[in-house]
């Protein structure tokens, strides 16, 4: 939450050198709601150009992890540092220029057009009157073109399908010109074509812009396909971490999810594929 009137720590920077990179590091995170421990002893490091996937059964604390990393919630214990500065020291505006979140099935006000929603990504760059410049518009337009939503620009969000809404929100995140990108189940409720499209887009952006990415997955096979590193959470603790082939094993999946599965190799790319037994 931070203070009511936070101090600006790093001063106001409007323009930023292209290709600047950031990394996010969390150490010994612990969080609880009342007496229920949601997350305990979680370490992770997001570095530029890499996607870290987080998997785990419902209630394992995946979404809480994203909320902690984006400072919506404050950890009880442990430290999160972004570019070497403690996360709590960042001014909200400065933070929003570096770190973005694509929330899980976000609520969008139906009266607004996709363009207006995407333009909201420029909020942390606007002056106090909130007047956007030509640069802001061009960046937003690029973000919309990149996410394939430009043709929806004048459409109201209430008239969009689930996949289109998700892409508009990703466009908004891109307009923020982030260096750290956190996605909370970006493929939830999407059809397979939109799942693949969305994940291709994310991997491409992470690779091209050298973003530090964290993606929460529901679908283990998507996680296997698109992540450089996987973290398997079980009731708030890290059960396993490493390359997809190291994490997605029948034993670990069985332990975390309590389900009998078999793991085979993908015929094309040799990545593990999890199948129910």
């Amino acid at each position: 939450m931070g203070r009511l009137f936070p101090k600006r720590v790093f001063g106001r920077r409007r323009a930023r050198p292209v290709g600047e990179q950031s990394s996010l590091e969390a150490r010994k995170l612990r969080f609880r709601f009342g007496n229920t421990v949601i997350l305990d002893d979680v370490d992770l490091r997001l570095s530029p150009g890499r996607i870290v996937g987080v998997i785990g059964p419902n209630g394992a604390g995946k979404s809480t992890l994203v909320k902690l990393l984006s400072r919506v919630l404050v950890p009880e214990n442990g430290q999160i540092s972004l570019d070497g500065h403690d996360l709590t020291a960042w001014h909200p505006m400065e933070l929003a220029r570096v770190l973005t979140v694509v929330p899980q099935a976000p609520e969008l006000p139906p009266g607004f057009t996709s363009w207006e929603i995407a333009l909201m990504g420029r909020t942390p760059f606007l002056g106090w009157m909130g007047k956007e410049s030509e640069t802001d518009r061009v960046i937003t337009q690029q973000a919309m073109v990149e996410t394939g939503t430009w043709h929806l620009a004048s459409r109201r969000v209430s008239q969009l399908s689930g996949g289109e809404r998700q892409r508009v929100v990703i466009a908004r995140a891109l307009a923020q010109e982030p260096r750290v990108l956190l996605l909370d189940e970006p493929t939830a409720y999407l059809d397979i074509n939109h799942q693949i499209e969305t994940m291709m887009l994310v991997t491409r952006l992470v690779a091209e812009r050298k973003l530090a990415g964290l993606v929460i997955f529901h679908d283990l096979n998507l996680a296997s396909r698109y992540c450089d590193e996987l973290i398997l959470l079980q009731s708030g603790r890290i059960l396993a971490r490493g390359r997809p082939s190291e994490v997605l094993t029948p034993a670990l999946i069985g332990q975390a999810y309590g389900a009998d599965v078999t793991v085979i190799q993908h015929p094309a790319n040799r990545l593990p594929v999890v199948l129910p037994l």
Binding site: M1, G2, L4, F5, P6, R50, S70, V72, P92, E94, L95, A96, R97, L99, V101, P103, P106, E107, L108, P109, P110, G111, F112, T113, W115, E116, M120, T123, P124, L126, M129, G130, K131, E134, R137, T140, Q141, V145, E146, T147, G148, W150, H151, A153, S154, R156, S158, Q176, E197, M200, L201, T203, R204, A207, R225, Y226, D228, A268, N269, L271
Partner: protein
């Protein structure tokens, strides 16, 4: 990383061709946004014209051009030749003009704060009186009238002063009551407002019934419905600076209000300090509303329908919605007040009755015309 490279050709499939109609960044409705300054200017000119007609219109009418000449004579300080009776000048300058201006200011204040509250609470039913202002002001005014209090502040009577204080006390109470652990939840705020409003209204009704003087009761009921028949330059001088400052702050917060239309979490992640924005807007909007109520009584319905009407026509962007609501509200109030004082002349109809009488059908018409769901 190598894993996805096989499919890279698919990225080329993303539609990179821009729709031909969109030469400039932004959708087609965007031309209106680019011209928003002009649109506001035209609206302002219309409000001035309407106000001029309202001043001309009354128990006896004065040609609008003569009014302009009277005003010019007053402003320039140049005596010149007068072709009109001297009484006209008094009527214009001391009675009709302050009344029209006050009506415009009150209309602007209520409409704009209505838009702010609707945005803040993300609730289409919100209006400026939502979190206890009307009941607080009502109680204050009732106390002043029922106990026959006579003190005043400057040229303002006890009724105005107590109404203002009552409104602020009520809002502050509601805000403090709904602040739990350093955070305010919108729902708690709404419920606290309703509960405290009911409590204050109960006290007010009790006081009203207890006072034996029938004149007091009539006075209280009349005040509660709102009227401009006691307008004066002093009231204009009081409301104008508050409204000007409030408008500046509220309009500057327009883009943050837009972001608040997303949920709280998204707003925070976009760098908007939610709690602070809410506090600033509630304080400013409450001050503006309380001042408007203190000078005119509780005029209902304007703050509810004008922002909706503007939103239905021009879309929900608060950076435009707030100033436009203010202008439309000003024009609307001037017209309604003109009707209120001339329809049953020399008797006056309370303005609050007419705002609902004219506003509701027009609003229903708009709703039927534009069926898009604008709110959740």
């Amino acid at each position: 990383m190598s894993a996805y490279k096989n499919n890279e050709h698919k990225i080329e499939g993303i539609d990179k061709t821009l729709p031909a109609a969109l030469a400039k960044p932004g959708p087609r409705r965007y031309w209106l946004w680019r011209r928003r300054g002009h649109v506001l200017l035209v609206a302002f000119a219309l409000v001035v014209c309407v106000a001029l007609l309202a001043v001309a219109w009354g128990s006896f009418s004065i040609p609008p051009w003569t009014i302009v000449k009277i005003l010019w004579r007053r402003i320039s300080g140049n005596p010149g030749v007068t072709t009109w009776p001297a009484s006209w000048e008094t009527v214009i300058l001391q009675i009709r003009l302050p009344r029209a201006i006050l009506a415009a200011l009150v209309g602007a204040a209520l409409s704009q704060t209505g838009a702010v509250y609707q945005g803040l609470f993300r609730n289409p039913l919100a209006d400026p009186y939502l979190i206890g202002i009307s009941s607080g002001a009502g109680l204050g005014a009732t106390i002043a009238i029922a106990f026959g209090l006579l003190f005043g502040w400057g040229s303002l009577g006890a009724v105005s002063v107590l109404a203002f204080l009552g409104a602020l006390v009520a809002t502050a109470l509601v805000y403090c009551l709904s602040r739990i652990g350093g955070r305010t939840s919108v729902v708690t705020l709404l419920l606290a407002g309703v509960a405290l409003g009911a409590f204050f209204t109960a006290i007010q009704t009790f006081l009203m019934l207890r006072s034996n003087d029938a004149f007091h009761t009539v006075h209280i009921v009349g005040w509660l419905m709102g009227s401009f028949n006691l307008s004066s330059w002093a009231k204009v001088q009081l409301l104008a600076p508050v409204l000007a400052a409030g408008t500046a702050i509220m309009c500057a917060y327009g883009h943050r209000l837009n972001v608040l239309q997303l949920d709280e979490e998204q707003a925070q992640q976009l760098g908007v300090p939610v709690e602070r924005t809410r506090l600033v807007l509630i304080v400013v909007a409450s001050l503006v509303t309380a001042t408007a109520v203190a000078v005119s009584g509780i005029i209902g319905f304007v703050g509810l329908i004008v922002p909706h009407a503007v939103r239905l026509v021009w879309g929900p962007d608060h950076r435009f919605l707030l100033p436009m609501s203010a202008l439309i509200g000003a024009g609307f109030m001037v017209v309604v007040d003109g009707v209120a004082r001339t329809l049953l002349s020399p008797a006056e109809i309370p303005v609050g009755v007419l705002t609902a009488f004219f506003g509701a059908p027009f609003f229903l018409y708009l709703l039927r015309q534009k069926k898009q769901q604008l709110f959740r």
